[in-house]
Symmetry: C2
Subunit: 87 residues, 2 copies
Amino acid sequence: MQLLWCKDFLVLAQMRNFSRAADQRCISQSALSRRIKQLEDDLGARLIDRQPGSLQLTPAGRVFLQHCEQMLKQDQALREQISNTIQ
Amino acid sequence: MQLLWCKDFLVLAQMRNFSRAADQRCISQSALSRRIKQLEDDLGARLIDRQPGSLQLTPAGRVFLQHCEQMLKQDQALREQISNTIQ
DNA sequence: TAAAAATACTCCATAGGTATTTTAT
DNA sequence: ATAAAATACCTATGGAGTATTTTTA
């Protein structure tokens, strides 16, 4: 599990379009497709219902979306906490 | 940020010895050294005080240790939640 | 001087891009 | 027929191991 995948998924969940989400993530459509596949393999569940034009999250996808938001917030909090820490 | 790094760091924090922690993680000492370095670079802070024989966590390291435990628990919870989700 | 960690070097695996194919509307 | 995602193919980057060097107690 990587934070990178969370960011990818978050953008994809918002855009509901691989090609445009890939642009926003500054990678190719094929790279995003593979990253999401990696993520789904890692979790052992489909996260996205691929209907070109009307992309939907699966139940697992909706669960993961919550998780993503939580993880990204915590990561940000961690970095702030660390930058406020005396070395 | 990767969960892999969290696992590495957790083991290293317990063992306080790169070589033995690397064994436990089933990678070479040099690989673990590089992974921890990557992690420190990613966070922009030293996490470990390297005194061979008496390895210590820095203040940032102690902050990160808490974060690691939280992340690993949440990841486990996520996977359980997903496996209980109807596809 | 002995241990432990970092580094140099090489190699391989994986991630990426481009081009193409497949799929669904 | 068109738009969008998946796949094939090739390349390049990064991560791994072994061997070596550096460091400090």
